[in-house]
Symmetry: C2
Amino acid sequence: MGRRREHGEQTRAALLAAAAELLSREGRPAVSVRRVADEVGTTTRAVYSLFGDKEGLLRALSADVAETMRRRHEEVPERDDPVAEIVDLAFGYRAAALEKPNLYAVFIDEIRDNADPADPIFSLVYRSFDRVLQTVRRCLDAGLFPGRTEFDVGRFLFALVHGLASLELRGILGDEATARQTWRLSVQAALAGLRQPPSSPGRPRTGATSPTRRRSRPAGGAVSG
Amino acid sequence: MGRRREHGEQTRAALLAAAAELLSREGRPAVSVRRVADEVGTTTRAVYSLFGDKEGLLRALSADVAETMRRRHEEVPERDDPVAEIVDLAFGYRAAALEKPNLYAVFIDEIRDNADPADPIFSLVYRSFDRVLQTVRRCLDAGLFPGRTEFDVGRFLFALVHGLASLELRGILGDEATARQTWRLSVQAALAGLRQPPSSPGRPRTGATSPTRRRSRPAGGAVSG
DNA sequence: TCCGATTTCGTCACACTGTTACGTTACGGC
DNA sequence: GCCGTAACGTAACAGTGTGACGAAATCGGA
């Protein structure tokens, strides 16, 4: 009973493709519900039926990037030297970010501490992160990163590759050759540093460690463990 | 001749304060030209007279963050150990980012490779970056970072602290204590890595280094030298 | 076969947004 | 006084995300 639905999987895929195309061609402000719907030849109703709201559409797009992320990470072959393998993983992250530059920004905006574990994007990101942790564990087991924990290393590497990707996509790292060299030098320096035992706490001398304002959101999240 | 202007420096400051307040209280989407103007008790005309357009208002806000950045960097005292001084500078960056969490995002969005050198925000960022390079040079002169250039080190550190700040503001680094420890461990690992001579090129084994799509914008920028 | 119930669709309206054109107001010089 | 001029407030325009509502299409049952 009821009307046969036309806004099915096919329309959904078409909307996502149109949104991605619009995003990569004209940037984020160009992607509006009306334009995306017009591009596909349907109405705004389809977007709201299939994705709930505009943010749902963007979330679905982010999931696409997360999938690219996962693929780029999981296709990195195992190497005898786990440290060299981490370099490959970092360049896999870079490749995923550069593959869809405008999508990367909306992807990273979706990553939040209060992410819903049921959200498919969550499990995809977790798989990418876990792929890295897997290699990190091999380094730890081999005694290559003395005095480190897998999560310390994971957060460190995550911050570094995200920072590099973020700067490169903003054009701050110069041309492609310069950017690539910055990636290589940075990742290798980071890994060389992890091989050194951490120094004693030794607090910095400024009061900078206790910021006055702090976001009120409770702690926790995917990478907090 | 002409009407006496009311949209002067005072209105300008009030608009900036209202925008900053609105931004930190309700987030970026809450800051609209009309709301900011209403908050001050003036009209949208004032915004357009003083800032040109909405982006001009946001640019002025970014300049405020850039100024905080500069202050936090330049107030870091000189230490006998330049490497330890870099740790302080990194925590200065963190303090500036955490001081105005929502502003940091609009600030970093303003940093682009095609930034206008006449833009005050450009010179402010340059001063912060130069403050770091100054200490980096001391490390290089002391032979502490063998085989590195000041710009290699500068880009590396910039990517790291931006990545850390970006993740922490998204709540991904856990509670404040965990985040602070991640900062300390990461920065110290990075510095330990810089003390090791860089390894030979040794290209990664995936095709990830030559991304298919690349942004068409020409190379160059503030940190490219 | 026809009708009513149900579900989905297309369209429109609402409250917004950034921005610009226009009429009004207030001043200085004559 | 008056006029030119500069800055002002207002209103309109095109565009946004989204909720409400009527129309269309499909089913089970009479």
